[in-house]
């Protein structure tokens, strides 16, 4: 496969096997001693992570372990208590939230956040609007090419003119993913992207993520579906009570006794973990 070109430069083609080759080896995002405290509640407390460029990293952990707070901190939507954030070599822990997309970070939310008054296409176009003026090409008629492409890739072309309220929950989540993809990010943060989807839709989203990885897009995935994390991620982090429990190859992480005790339950096994 040829190396696709994005606004962040030409990136090497990603791995074919999600487990064997975790990204390109260089870091797309570095998190150093990140903490988010709300009064006495330490939602995130001293997290240090490095996400590999071109790979899919995942975070698992029980509810309240700080996963979504971490994503909010990475997108500057919550105030940091301390810590350093570096994306593509640029420190950004002090920038305002509106500048984060310009650094190449896009996200989806844990709950569907679409604008009900806008059509599916217009919701996706919000992501395209976030691109700089030089990167936008608005045709006189119809949708910009990247918007139509994002709709097509997520199987939404047929419902482009519908309103979100006319769609199933799973389809609405796909609109969110399309909106994030069309921003042409260097790092995509997906906060439980398959919540509310049926099995077939989950398989489709997982395949889409792997396809995006093959095009060089780095991704950070938060999910409770551990089997999907095993099937999709190159590298896995496990969190509990705002702290990092462990990290490593997905199969190794889910086999870790600390992870099983804090999240999965003792004796938890998965098909992939057995391999």
């Amino acid at each position: 496969m040829s190396s696709p070109s994005t606004r962040h430069g030409t990136v090497p083609a990603g791995p074919a096997d999600p487990v064997d080759v975790p990204g390109t080896g260089t870091a797309v995002l570095e998190i150093r001693d990140l903490a988010v405290h709300y009064g006495g509640v330490k939602a995130v407390d001293g997290i240090t992570m490095t996400l590999a460029e071109g790979g899919i990293s995942g975070i698992i952990g029980p509810n309240g372990s700080g996963k979504s707070t971490l994503v909010a901190a990475l997108t500057r939507l919550t105030r940091l208590t301390r810590g350093e954030l570096t994306v593509g070599g640029t420190r950004y822990e002090r920038v305002r939230p509106g500048r984060v997309p310009g650094l190449g970070i896009a996200r989806t939310f844990q709950t569907v956040r679409l604008l009900g008054d806008l059509s599916v296409a217009a919701n996706v176009q919000l992501g395209y609007d976030a691109r700089s003026r030089a990167e936008r090409r608005a045709p006189l008629r119809g949708l910009p090419g990247p918007v139509a492409e994002a709709l097509e890739r997520t199987g939404l072309t047929d419902v482009a003119r519908a309103r979100p309220s006319e769609l199933s929950y799973g389809t609405q989540r796909r609109v969110e993913i399309a909106r994030a993809i069309v921003m042409d990010p260097r790092l995509l943060l997906l906060d439980e992207p398959t919540a509310g989807m049926n099995a077939a839709e989950r398989v489709e989203i997982s395949a889409l993520m792997r396809q995006l990885r093959s095009e060089g897009l780095s991704q950070l995935l938060i999910e409770h579906d551990v089997q999907m994390m095993l099937d999709t991620c190159d590298h896995l982090f496990a969190m509990a009570q705002g702290r990092l429990l462990t990290e490593g190859r997905p199969a190794d992480v889910v086999a870790d006794p600390r992870v099983q005790e804090a999240y999965l339950g003792k004796g938890w096994k998965a098909d992939a973990a057995d391999q």
Partner: protein
């Protein structure tokens, strides 16, 4: 037609001024900023313009610009001070600002004329200039209701956190709302003074808050068309209601109450809903592609794809 126009010239002028006043409340509302400061700006514009004409003998156009800019500057300062407020608290703070302007007008000495006001404010304002100004403002507001800017404004109003994630500087948008509201309010106040050649405490009264708010609630809060509909309705309604004599106030109030209950999106919203129902009736049923279905070619999507229901 010309006889009708000549006999109703005052109402025509009042309608044009009412459109600008309604827009000064509507523009921040479209950004999710529940600010009623446009009425205070209206008072500032009214008194500033009177002083500019009476003391500096300034012409209509520079008077309009200076009045609008002064009110916009005050709006910016107000916005910076109360930026963190939202919802009813913000509305209360801006009403307090409106009342403060009224107190200043009452105690402003020779600058405001106190309870008597200022009279004899004659400038070279023509109907063409008045009409052209309002049309220009409407065109500019219309440009914020289409395309990329409209989508971003909608996002700031509906979900500020999402807007930030889409690269929108939410703070800048909201502060701009205060500035634009101030300019439009100041311009409306100025034009009111120049058309009536007088300014008094009635131009900074709480009654104006009620009038401006009901104008956009009944007309429609999310488009300039709603402001125009509401301004025409409430400027001309009192003269129409003369036939009911002393029941005029009652009928006026009844219309406002009924509109608030049965037309939550205003008259323009009612039109948009009806149009949308017709479009959806003739549109094929929505069915997303299933994962196991073959890929379908990208369809050409008509420009109407982004039309929002208002």
């Amino acid at each position: 037609m010309s006889a009708f126009y000549a006999s109703n010239l005052v109402l025509v002028q009042a309608t044009l001024v009412a459109i600008l006043l309604a827009l000064s409340i509507q523009v921040p509302l479209r950004l999710g900023v529940f600010s009623l400061a446009g009425v205070g700006s209206y008072g500032i514009g009214a008194y500033v313009s009177a002083n500019l004409v009476l003391r500096e003998e300034m012409g209509a156009v520079p008077t309009m610009l200076v009045s609008g800019l002064v009110a916009a500057a005050v709006g910016l300062v107000l916005g910076v001070v109360i930026y963190r407020l939202a919802g009813l608290y913000l509305a209360m703070a801006t009403i307090a600002f409106d009342l403060t302007v009224g107190v200043v007008a009452l105690n402003g000495g020779e600058w405001t004329g106190g309870p008597v006001g200022l009279f004899g404010v004659f400038a070279d304002l023509t109907m063409g200039l008045l009409f052209g100004t309002v049309v220009l403002v409407l065109v500019l507001v219309h440009l914020t209701e289409v395309g990329r800017l409209a989508r971003r404004i909608t996002t700031v109003r509906e979900d500020p956190e999402l807007a930030a994630s889409m690269g929108v500087n939410v703070r800048a948008y909201r502060l701009t709302a205060f500035v634009v509201s101030g300019f439009l309010g100041g311009l409306a106040g100025c034009l009111n003074t120049l058309t009536r050649s007088a300014v008094g405490l009635q131009d900074v009264s709480f009654h104006l808050v009620v009038v401006a708010l009901t104008t956009i609630i009944v007309g429609g809060a999310l488009s300039w068309r709603g402001a125009v509909i509401g301004a025409v309705l409430f400027t001309w309604l009192p003269s129409v209601l003369e036939v009911v004599g002393e029941w005029q106030e009652f009928v006026y109030g009844l219309i406002v109450v009924l509109a608030a209950i049965f037309l939550p999106t205003g008259l323009y919203g009612l039109w948009c809903s009806a149009r949308r129902r017709v479009v959806e009736r003739f549109r094929p049923p929505v069915r997303p592609r299933r994962p196991d279905e073959p890929d379908v070619p990208a369809a050409t999507v008509a420009p109407e794809h982004e039309v929002a229901a208002r």
